[in-house]
C-alpha cells in the first residue's frame, strides 16, 4: 500500500504568482501614468490623481476585456466601480489616522501629559502646559459613569437572557432606540434635572450624561456576552438544587467574567470621546481638579474643542496633540477589549 499517493488539493481558482505580479505591476504603471497626467493637466491634488487613476483603469479594463463577452466585461467594470467606491469609503478614516498621528506627534512634548494649563495660555509654545487636568477629568468622569451604569446595563442583559420576562421585547426595543438618543440631548436632560438644580457644571453631572450614553452599549453587549453561556451550565446549576438567583450569580455570571470586563471597556471607549454633553454638564477648567461634585472640570474632548474655538496656530497644534492622546485611549481600550474578549472563546 506504500505506493498510494495522496493527491495534493489544487486550487485552480487561485491566481498564480505571475498573474498577481502582473496585475500589481499594471496597477503601479497606471498610478504613475495618472501622476504624470496630473502633473501636465488641470487636475490637481490627491483627489484629481484618484479620478485620473479611475479613468485610466476603466480604459485599461476595456482594452483588456475586448475579447471577453459582454457579460464578463460588465462584471469587470462593476468590480472596478465597487472597489473604487469602497476605497472612497475607507480613505477618510486612513486620512484621519494619518493626520492625527502626524500632526499630533509633531506637537507632542512630555509636558503635555505631566502638566496642566494653569499658568499657560493656549498661544504659548508647545513645551509649556499640557493636558494632565483634562486627562484626569476624563478618567474621573468615565469611572463614575461606569460605576453607575455597569450594574444597570448588566442587569438589563441578565433580564434579557436569564429572566426573559414579559417585557423582553420592550426592553430590547427601548435599548435599541436609546442608543440613538443624540448626545447633546442627554446633556440637556442632565442639565435640566441635575446641573441647573445644583450649583452648576461638575464632574458628576458630566458622568451622569456619559452614563446615559453608555447604558445602551453596555446592555446590548452584555446580552451578547451572556448569550454565549451554554444552556447546559444553567441546567447543571438547577440539577444541583440551586435556585435561579444562585445559578445566575454563581454559575452564569462567573463564566463570562472576562466577557463582562470587555463590556465595561467597550462602554468606556464608547463615551470617552463624547464632547457635546460635557459642554452642557461638566464645563471646563484650566487646572487639575479632583472634586467630582464641586466646580467645573476639564476633559480631553472639551480641551480639544476649546482650543479649536480659539483657532490660533499653537492652540490648533495643541488640539491635534489632544486628539492624538484621545485616539490612543480609544484604540487602546478597543484593543484591550479584543484581547480580553478573545480569552472567552478558548
Amino acid at each position: 500500500m506504500s505506493d498510494v499517493t495522496i493527491p495534493q488539493p489544487t486550487r485552480p481558482w487561485q491566481r498564480k504568482r505571475r498573474e498577481q505580479v502582473r496585475s500589481g505591476a499594471t496597477f503601479v504603471a497606471m498610478a504613475i501614468l495618472a501622476f504624470a497626467v496630473v502633473l501636465f493637466t488641470g487636475f490637481a491634488g490627491f483627489d484629481g490623481w484618484a479620478i485620473v487613476l479611475f479613468i485610466i483603469s476603466a480604459i485599461v479594463l476595456f482594452i483588456k476585456g475586448r475579447k471577453l463577452s459582454k457579460k464578463e466585461r460588465k462584471n469587470a467594470l462593476i468590480q472596478l466601480l465597487i472597489a473604487s467606491a469602497a476605497t472612497l469609503a475607507f480613505l477618510p478614516w486612513l486620512s484621519i489616522f494619518a493626520s492625527v498621528a502626524m500632526k499630533g506627534l509633531a506637537g507632542f512634548r512630555i509636558n503635555f501629559i505631566t502638566s496642566d494649563m494653569r499658568t499657560t495660555v493656549p498661544d504659548d509654545e508647545m513645551n509649556m502646559g499640557g493636558a494632565l487636568h483634562a486627562i484626569v477629568g476624563s478618567f474621573m468622569m468615565v469611572i463614575i459613569a461606569s460605576i453607575i451604569t455597569l450594574p444597570l446595563g448588566i442587569l438589563s442583559g441578565v433580564y434579557l437572557t436569564e429572566i426573559k420576562g414579559r417585557f423582553t421585547f420592550l426592553v430590547r426595543f427601548v435599548i435599541q432606540s436609546m442608543s440613538g438618543v443624540p448626545s447633546i440631548v442627554a446633556g440637556l436632560f442632565v442639565f435640566t434635572t441635575y446641573v441647573s438644580a445644583t450649583h452648576g457644571p461638575t464632574a458628576f453631572g458630566g458622568a451622569l450624561a456619559l452614563g446615559i450614553l453608555m447604558l445602551p452599549t453596555v446592555a446590548r453587549t452584555s446580552e451578547e456576552v451572556l448569550k454565549l453561556v451554554p444552556e447546559e451550565l444553567r441546567s447543571a446549576g438547577y440539577a444541583l438544587g440551586a435556585r435561579q438567583w444562585r445559578t445566575t450569580l454563581m454559575v452564569v455570571l462567573p463564566t463570562v467574567r472576562s466577557g463582562l470586563t470587555t463590556v465595561a471597556v467597550l462602554g468606556v471607549a464608547r463615551v470617552i470621546g463624547e464632547t457635546a454633553p460635557l459642554l452642557l454638564t461638566a464645563g471646563s477648567s484650566t487646572a487639575l481638579r479632583f472634586n467630582p461634585v464641586n466646580g467645573p472640570i476639564a476633559s480631553l474632548p472639551i480641551y480639544v474643542f476649546g482650543l479649536l474655538q480659539i483657532g490660533t496656530e499653537y492652540a490648533v497644534n495643541r488640539a491635534w496633540t489632544g486628539a492624538l492622546v484621545l485616539m490612543i485611549f480609544v484604540f487602546g481600550l478597543f484593543i484591550t477589549a479584543r484581547k480580553i474578549g478573545g480569552k472567552d472563546k478558548r
Binding site: 483627489d47 462584471n75 468590480q79 475607507f90 436569564e162 440637556l188 435556585r243 438567583w245 464632547t275 486628539a323
Partner: protein, 309 residues
C-alpha cells in the same frame, strides 16, 4: 423548562427587572423633563416655534424674545440628506467589497478597520473636517458650483464654498459610513451560500449573483442601516458644529457657506443663554429628541426584523 421560583428567586427577579426597566424610565424621563421645561415655549409660540425664521434673545427688557427654529430644522435635514446620499452607495459598495471581493487577509483587515473607525469620536471627525477635509471639499464644491450652477441647489452667490452644508454633509458621511457599512455587511453575510452558488452554477458572473441574490436579500437590512445612520446624522453635534457656518435663514443652496443645525444651535447658544432662551433651547432639544427617536425606532424595528429571521 419549568422552574419553581422560591422567595429568593422572586426577590432576584424583581431586582433584575427593575434594573432592566431603568433604560425605559430614563428614556421616559428625558422626554418628560425636556417637554416640561420646553412646554411654556411651545404654548407661547405654538407652531411658529417650528416654522419661525428668527432666533433672537433680547437683551433689553422692552423688546420681546423671538424663537423660531425653522431654518435650523430644515438645515439639519439638508445636511443629513447630503450625508446619506454619499453614505448609502459607499456603504453598499464597501460591504459588498468586504464580503465578496476582498481576499481573506484583506477582508480581515478591513473588518478590523471598520470596527476601529466606528469608534473614532465625532470630535475627531470635526477636527479633521475643518483642518484637513475642508480644502478638498471646497474644491469639489467649487467644481460643482461652476459646472452645475444652473441647477438651483448648486447655485451660489458668493465664491466662498467652505463651511457649507455640502462640506458638512461630506464630513458627516465619513462619520456615518462605518455604522451603515457594518449593518450592510452583517446582512449581506447572511445571504444563503447555496443561492449564490446556484447563480455561479447557472453560468452567472459575480455581479450577476450579487444583483439577483445578494442585493434583493439584503435590501430591507440596508434600508434599516441607512435609517440608523440617518438618526446618527440628525443628532450629531460637534462634527457639524465645527465645520458648518450657522445662519438663520431658509437656504437650499447647499454650496453656500451657511446652513442650519439644531444640535449645533444648542451648543452655540447654550453658554450665554438667558432663562427664556434656555427654555427655548431645551424645547429645540425636545424636537430633536422626538425626531431622532422616531427615525431610530423605525430603524431598529427593521434591523431587528431582518437580522432575526
Amino acid at each position: 423548562m419549568h422552574v419553581v421560583h422560591s422567595r429568593g428567586d422572586k426577590v432576584f427577579r424583581g431586582i433584575v427587572t427593575a434594573g432592566a426597566m431603568t433604560s425605559l424610565i430614563i428614556l421616559g424621563l428625558i422626554g418628560a423633563f425636556l417637554f416640561g421645561r420646553g412646554a411654556q415655549v411651545f404654548s407661547q409660540y405654538g407652531l411658529k416655534f417650528i416654522t419661525g425664521t428668527n432666533w433672537s434673545a433680547s437683551t433689553e427688557p422692552g423688546i420681546p424674545n423671538e424663537f423660531g427654529m425653522g431654518p435650523m430644522l430644515v438645515g439639519t435635514v439638508i445636511v443629513s440628506v447630503i450625508a446619506l446620499t454619499f453614505t448609502v452607495p459607499m456603504s453598499i459598495a464597501g460591504a459588498l467589497y468586504i464580503e465578496f471581493y476582498a481576499q481573506p487577509r484583506v477582508k480581515k483587515l478591513l473588518t478590523a478597520l471598520l470596527d476601529l473607525a466606528a469608534a473614532i469620536p465625532s470630535l475627531i471627525f470635526g477636527l479633521w473636517g475643518i483642518q484637513v477635509f475642508t480644502n478638498i471639499g471646497q474644491r469639489w464644491a467649487s467644481l460643482l458650483g461652476n459646472r452645475l450652477g444652473f441647477i438651483p441647489i448648486f447655485n451660489t452667490i458668493s465664491d466662498n464654498y467652505g463651511r457649507s452644508p455640502f462640506v458638512a454633509g461630506c464630513v458627516l458621511a465619513s462619520l456615518v459610513v462605518p455604522i451603515t457599512t457594518s449593518v450592510a455587511r452583517e446582512v449581506y453575510s447572511r445571504t444563503p451560500r447555496e443561492l449564490i452558488d446556484t447563480c455561479y452554477a447557472l453560468g452567472g458572473t459575480k455581479w450577476g449573483a450579487i444583483k439577483t441574490v445578494v442585493l434583493p436579500f439584503g435590501k430591507s437590512g440596508v434600508v434599516g442601516g441607512a435609517m440608523l445612520g440617518l438618526g446618527r446624522a440628525l443628532g450629531e453635534t460637534v462634527a457639524v458644529y465645527l465645520v458648518l457656518n450657522l445662519n438663520f435663514r431658509y437656504t437650499f443652496k447647499i454650496l453656500e457657506s451657511e446652513g442650519g443645525n439644531v444640535a449645533s444651535l444648542i451648543a452655540t447658544r447654550f453658554g450665554e443663554a438667558s432663562t427664556e432662551e434656555l427654555s427655548a433651547l431645551i424645547a429645540a432639544g425636545f424636537v430633536l429628541f422626538l425626531m431622532t427617536l422616531g427615525v431610530n425606532m423605525i430603524a431598529s424595528a427593521i434591523v431587528t426584523k431582518t437580522t432575526r429571521s
